[in-house]
């Protein structure tokens, strides 16, 4: 079955780049441009994995991750944080909010896809 990936980022370049890349890798991709719409899309499509930007308008990626973990329907969803904040404390906060992996911008699209594949392979076992 084709895995579904949610991309939540307020930057259209990142959204379009990841949508293109992941679609070409065979994933079904759904996108959101801010925190509240990321939550709505996650609840509607129940994706296998969410790529969340940390700094999104209205609700941050951390808030979205916590909300996803607290909802029974989305609690087991894999979460990958994508952010320009590289400080140790930021990374720790990301994992504290329930992220499975953390990628720092600027990022390599190829590496990001590899990480997504690895997370999905782990969770499907």
């Amino acid at each position: 079955m084709v895995a579904t990936v949610l991309i939540a980022d307020d930057d259209p370049d990142i959204r379009d780049l990841l949508e293109f890349k992941l679609s070409h890798c065979g994933y079904k991709v759904v996108v959101a441009e801010d925190g509240p719409s990321a939550l709505a899309v996650a609840l509607e499509y129940l994706p296998d994995l969410a790529v969340l930007d940390l700094m999104m308008p209205v609700l941050s990626g951390l808030d979205v991750a916590r909300a996803l973990r607290d909802n029974a329907e989305t609690a087991s969803m894999s979460i990958l944080m994508l952010t320009a904040r590289a400080q140790e404390a930021d990374v720790a906060r990301g994992f504290g909010a329930g992220a499975d992996d953390y990628v720092i911008k600027p990022f390599s699209p190829r590496e990001l896809v590899s990480r997504i594949e690895a997370i999905l392979a782990r969770t499907s076992r």
């Binding site: 930057d11 379009d16 780049l17 890349k21 808030d63 607290d70 140790e88 990022f107 190829r110």
Partner: protein, 365 residues
């Protein structure tokens, strides 16, 4: 004519000038918005090809040629987007975009702009040079660290961090002293961005005769997590003549996070040292999560030195259950001033927890 009449005329003239200025500003703004919209419209059909180029695991020659053959008018519209994307990716994606930009002569144009008399143009060129990682970028950016304009110097410092060459450590460290200096914070970010490649040069800088350079080098070694530098940092914490350097060394040791860091931090926290240095060592023990230091910190809260006692109470609040138990003990039966510190730290702890609960509730509602 009377003075009142002259004043009235002057007022009218002023009002007309202000009105003309407002109209001119509105016209310029409207022109820029229209230009921007036109450029966006022109760039829109080209963007998918650009995304394809960036997303490719290997250099997509077809996409590169399509973008390389664009008429100048369309290229000018899309070039800012290309630079914007370049800053967001690395690896093959960044190499592909840099190849495209270089094939369109962006590097040559940028190198020319970097020698402009206009500081804004020089700063913009410095930013783009860093993005392009052109072979001529590093030398030019290093020279820009001594630019007469502060903003150009800042751009150069940030740019050198982005390029990330070990050879830039010495010029960056030198840029925090002298007449044309750059902010310690900004240069520290750039040095930290260079990462492990910077460690050897930073350790060497711990022997600098300039305190600002030793302070920055120590702080950056901590941010990088250079465990190999722990012994030198401990030496600095014990012996440096400048308090600012010792404070920086304490913070760095706590971030390096090795077992070797605990002993020097405990020695300085408990022993004789200037107050800011002791406070930094106490905060370092909390950062390390040193539960073995709880009894010592509990004793420090009972000291009459307000700042040191306050720091120790704050440190205990960060040491989970053993720290909280110690604060509760102090609040119940410590000396009067220690009771105040303990109650304040416990209240701050409860407030943090309550804020966390509120924030989660806000998200869930």
């Amino acid at each position: 004519m009377s003075v009142a009449a002259y004043s009235l005329i002057a007022l009218y003239v002023l009002a007309v000038v202000v009105l003309l200025l407002v109209v001119a500003m509105a016209m310029v703004r409207s022109l820029r918005v229209r230009q921007h919209r036109r450029a966006e419209k022109r760039a829109a059909p080209i963007r998918p090809i650009l995304i394809r180029l960036v997303a490719s695991d290997e250099l997509d020659r077809e996409a590169l040629d399509m973008l390389g053959d664009l008429p100048d008018k369309e290229w000018r519209a899309v070039e800012p987007r290309v630079f914007a994307i370049l800053d967001k990716v690395r690896g093959q994606a960044a190499d592909s975009v840099a190849t495209l930009l270089n094939s369109r002569g962006a590097a040559d144009r940028t190198l020319r702009a970097a020698r402009s008399h206009n500081a804004v143009k020089r700063a913009a060129a410095g930013d783009r040079l860093a993005s392009l990682r052109h072979h001529a970028s590093v030398g030019l950016l290093e020279r820009m660290l001594d630019d007469p304009d502060r903003d150009v110097r800042r751009v150069a410092a940030v740019g050198l961090g982005r390029v990330g060459r070990a050879g830039s450590v010495a010029p960056l460290l030198a840029s925090v002293t002298g007449k044309r200096r750059t902010s310690l914070l900004l240069v520290g970010d750039s040095l930290a961005r260079i990462g492990m490649k910077a460690v050897d040069a930073l350790v060497e800088a711990l022997d600098s005769p300039l305190a600002a350079q030793r302070e920055l080098a120590a702080g950056t070694l901590g941010r990088i997590g250079a465990t190999a530098a722990a012994e030198r940092l401990a030496d600095l914490l014990y012996n440096d003549e400048a308090d600012s350097v010792r404070v920086s060394a304490a913070g760095a040791l706590s971030k390096v996070g090795t077992w070797d860091a605990v002993t020097p931090l405990r020695d300085v926290a408990a022993g004789y040292a200037p107050t800011p240095v002791r406070c930094a060592a106490i905060a370092g023990l909390a950062e390390l999560g040193s539960a073995a230091s709880v009894a010592m910190l509990e004793a420090i809260v009972c000291e009459p030195n307000y700042d040191v006692a306050h720091s120790a109470a704050g440190a205990l609040a960060r040491l989970e259950r053993p720290g909280r138990d110690a604060l509760t003990r102090l609040a119940d039966s410590g000396p009067a001033w220690a009771v105040a510190h303990a109650i304040e730290a416990l209240a701050a702890l409860e407030m943090d927890e309550e804020l966390g609960r509120l924030s989660l509730r806000r998200v869930l509602v």
